[in-house]
């Protein structure tokens, strides 16, 4: 618990311009920052002991501003602690700095977020679709993508629905 407070204070001091909040809903430590601070804060956390990037994902809060939220999950083996880092990303400028230089596995995770939500990771070495096919238009996990809109690659024998 003390260590958590210590970490919070240190981040607050080091990254005043990016820091927004540090909360622990249901015991999950969550750091909320501005998107400009993603690379410096994550590289600080990596050196601090959170050496494993578990997941990168995003949330679409359609109708809110900022619309998207990029979420990073980190794990520290030494302290057996996890931390979640969130940053709001707006629809008009859906761009975030890549963290592939910190963690190799960010490559595929960022490609998935791009595929599903259309958030661009600047500086990514190979930002193309990973799950959907190249001809697919739009980003299927966006809330304004029609729920049942399918994009067949071949002519179907009879139409769906």
């Amino acid at each position: 618990m003390e260590r958590k407070e210590e970490l919070n204070k240190e981040i607050q001091e080091r990254f005043q311009e990016f820091y927004i909040d540090f909360i622990s809903p249901f015991g999950d430590d969550t750091l909320i920052i501005k998107k400009e601070g993603i690379f410096p804060v994550l590289s600080f956390l990596k050196n601090y002991g959170f050496e494993l990037l578990l997941d990168i994902t995003a949330v679409d809060y359609l109708g809110k501003k900022p619309r998207f939220e990029v979420v990073y999950h980190l794990l520290s083996f030494k302290d057996r602690k996890r931390i979640r880092v969130k940053a709001g990303v707006d629809e008009d400028d859906p761009k975030v700095t890549t963290v592939t230089s910190l963690w190799k596995n960010a490559d595929w995770l960022e490609r998935e977020v791009w595929d599903m939500y259309g958030i661009i990771f600047e500086g990514h070495p190979n930002l193309k679709r990973i799950l959907m096919y190249e001809e697919f238009k739009g980003h299927p996990l966006r809330k304004d993508y029609p729920f049942r809109k399918r994009q067949p690659r071949i002519e179907l024998l009879y139409p769906e629905d």
Binding site: F147, Q151, P152, L157
Partner: protein
């Protein structure tokens, strides 16, 4: 003198229904039930369908086992087109018959949108007994249908 009389169609049907070479197109969890139907406990070989070919060119039955989404749909059609006549298709499980749970942007709502299907096996996943029942239904269909033979259409 011992002999039996029959028609050419039913003789050919009898031969064909008990020597079904199959090509399993396994994409999802139904594969587990397929494996157990294939293995010793349920032993699909009792029905003459034990020989799995891993090229569609040698197969008679295309077993589509598991969810088919739009990304893999062209592959499934190519596999079907590569099979030589006579050929039959079994849709194995709910996902292949209707799309099942997955009514979303990715999943084909039943493989009959892509290729013609002869037998649908329901279940999520179907029990091996259901698979055997489906196979027997297909055998029945093969026995009863007019056989394609040297350019003669079925």
């Amino acid at each position: 003198m011992k002999f039996i009389t029959t028609t050419f169609d039913s003789l050919l049907g009898w031969a064909r229904k008990y020597s079904l070479f199959q090509y399993p197109f396994v994409t999802a969890c139904c594969g587990m039930e397929y494996m157990s139907a294939m293995c010793a406990h349920y032993d699909i070989d009792r029905f003459g369908a034990g020989l799995t070919r891993f090229t569609p060119r040698q197969a008679d039955v295309l077993l589509v086992v598991g969810t088919i989404n739009h990304k893999i749909a062209p592959v499934l059609r190519t596999v079907y087109e590569q099979m030589t006549e006579p050929k039959w298709v079994i849709a194995f499980g709910t996902c292949t018959t209707t799309g099942g749970l997955y009514d979303n942007y990715a999943t084909v709502q039943g493989i009959d949108h892509i290729i013609p299907v002869d037998v649908y096996i329901a279940g999520c996943p179907p029990r091996p007994e259901t698979v055997l029942e489906g196979l027997m239904k297909l055998q029945e269909k093969i026995q009863k249908s007019r056989q394609a033979w040297r350019g003669r259409k079925s």
